[in-house]
């Protein structure tokens, strides 16, 4: 199901035979091709940037496409290769940067009329500086939910993101743009942020891999905050292996972030050897697998995925985590309270400048008492203890990433977030690493996803299990049928 994208009327062979039709879907593919001389960064980047521009109205992927910067970086990467300089697998690789992360060469909007246009101007967040130093190419600043929180408000003038598998459906958020870019081949990877599921949600419904890292694993300075004690910056790409390549560059201590962890960064990709023999998987059944709102297709695909891992030598056992529903509420309460603290003055002075679905949700933070926030943090300590006990017995936990495939936008109701189950915020609450990977498709062609959660700073184990599954399946290599949109756009 690989899309053959063509550009008629062009005689340059590198432009006509695009990255996808050359079999280049992943960062690893591109890195190999760049080094064996079968393609240049300029060819990959030109193709991706032109597609991104053509499809931006239909998909709403980017707030800003940094075409000149991207081509300059691609040329630099090719010149470096020609001179025998090799900074590593990200050299020459086009990436999307979520538009709440500061990046030199482009402003940051947070998809909002409220953010000071000078915020972060002329600077790279530490994580972006690391990618730049590794020789990456920046395609642009990708669409986000307003301040990584609200749903799109078309009246505010920002691109409205659409799911490339079905443009009537949500691409999820808040890292919507990077999710779309990776799925539709408008970047080979990119950055998202995750406070309650905002990397994993888009990865889930767009059909690729997204990693929420351990709290503090990647510095979050230079990133507009949502929930200070929950936020993380994470890699998004087609495969777990690609996420490992990104994380090797992104991770590590930086003094500018008071929450950055001073923990050594392993070479994550070296752990991905396909071997899951003896890996102990826990399946928390109550809430995560038995909720009445959980789509049976989602559940069945996750359990089939677990079965495949067991067939490869892992063991799996049903277990229970107490108070999972309350953990979802505690994550949401802390998130909203911390977000309200950040936005309070602007909510008072610039209420109508916020999107119509962002502002009432932010306002909820005003109604929780100080005691409510303290109680949520006391619950957090108790929940973290229960989860830590589970990890004495298991190496990873596996759950669905979300209860449903991508919803139709017209059916979405923000108040449902308060009552429907969610499976992602629990791991922000505990600061644990968790990756969402594709686990199948519905009969209607929508991606399904499963989530693998690990111990603190055990991204290597989480990615190892994900990679082993992806060696035995090809869901993560499926490309949405954007060709019709491309033809329409021309």
């Amino acid at each position: 199901m690989t899309t053959q994208l063509t550009k008629p009327g062009t005689t340059d062979s590198n432009a006509v035979t695009t990255t996808a039709s050359k079999g280049i879907l992943t960062i690893a593919d591109a890195a190999a091709a760049l080094r064996d001389g079968t393609i240049t960064s300029m060819a990959i980047t030109t193709d991706i940037v032109e597609k991104a521009i053509s499809l931006n109205e239909a998909l709403g992927t980017y707030v800003t496409i940094t075409q000149d910067l991207a081509l300059e970086q691609a040329a630099q990467a090719d010149a470096a290769f020609a001179a025998g300089e090799d900074r590593g697998p990200l050299q020459g690789i086009p990436l999307a940067i979520k538009d709440i992360i500061a990046m030199k060469g482009a402003g940051t909007t947070a998809n909002s009329r409220v953010l000071d246009p000078e915020w972060g101007a002329g600077t790279d967040a530490p994580v972006v500086a690391r990618l730049r130093a590794a020789g990456s190419v920046f395609v642009g600043k990708s669409t986000t939910s307003e301040f990584a929180f609200g749903m799109p408000d078309p009246t505010k003038g920002f691109p409205v993101p659409h799911n490339p598998w079905d443009v009537e459906r949500t691409p999820a958020g808040s890292s919507s743009g990077t999710g779309i870019a990776v799925a539709a081949g408008l970047a080979l990877g990119g950055l998202g942020t995750d406070t309650g599921g905002s990397v994993r949600g888009p990865a889930c419904v767009n059909g690729h891999t997204g990693l929420k890292v351990t709290f503090g694993r990647v510095p979050k300075s230079g990133v507009v905050p949502l929930g200070f004690s929950l936020d993380s910056v994470g890699p998004m790409a087609r495969s777990a292996y690609d996420c490992a390549l990104l994380l090797e560059v992104m991770a590590g201590y930086d003094a500018s972030d008071p929450n950055a962890a001073d923990v050594p960064v392993p070479k994550y990709s070296e752990f991905l050897d396909g071997d899951v023999d003896g890996i102990r998987i826990g399946l928390p059944m109550p809430y995560f697998f038995d909720h009445e709102a959980l789509d049976p297709d989602v559940r069945d695909a996750v359990l089939a995925g677990v079965g495949k891992l067991v067939g490869m030598g892992a063991t799996a056992e049903e277990m229970a985590l107490p108070y999972a529903a309350e953990a979802k509420e505690a994550n949401h309460l802390i998130l909203v309270a911390e977000a309200y603290a950040y936005h309070r003055n602007n909510l008072v002075n610039r209420w109508s400048d916020y999107g119509d679905l962002t502002r009432p949700n932010l306002a909820r933070g005003a109604f929780y008492t100080a005691g409510d926030v303290a109680q949520a943090n006391r619950f957090r300590s108790m929940w973290a203890g229960e989860v830590a006990k589970a990890f004495q017995k298991y190496d990873v936990l596996i759950t669905p990433s979300a209860p449903n495939p991508a919803q139709l936008v017209k059916d979405m109701d923000p108040s449902h977030r308060l009552v429907q189950p969610m499976y992602t915020g629990h791991w922000n609450l505990t600061g644990l690493p968790a990756v969402a990977i594709p686990s199948g498709f519905t009969a209607g062609g929508l991606p399904l996803s499963m989530q693998i959660i690990g111990k603190p700073f055990a991204e290597a184990t989480v990615l190892k299990v994900a990679d082993a599954y992806q060696r035995a399946t090809s869901w993560h290599l499926m490309v949405p049928p954007v060709e019709a949109l491309y033809d329409t756009a021309r």
Binding site: P258, H332, W351, Q375, S415
Partner: protein, 64 residues
């Protein structure tokens, strides 16, 4: 006993947030549900003697 509308009016006045009239219904829905859900956290027995983990460390001397 005050209605939810009355409680919301007081809460908004105390917060200083002055939303547009058309937003009040959405805020009321979130207000009511949010407080119900927050109240649940006081009923969890395992939290009775728990201390929250602080995220500030006086030992951090990061440059800004």
């Amino acid at each position: 006993m005050h209605s939810s509308d009355e409680k919301l009016e007081v809460a908004l006045e105390m917060s200083g947030v002055n939303p547009a009239e058309e937003d009040l219904e959405k805020i009321l829905d979130g207000f009511t549900r949010g407080l119900e859900l927050a109240a649940q956290l006081y009923t969890v027995p395992g939290v009775r003697y728990e201390e929250p983990a602080l995220i500030f460390s006086a030992r951090v001397a990061g440059a800004r």
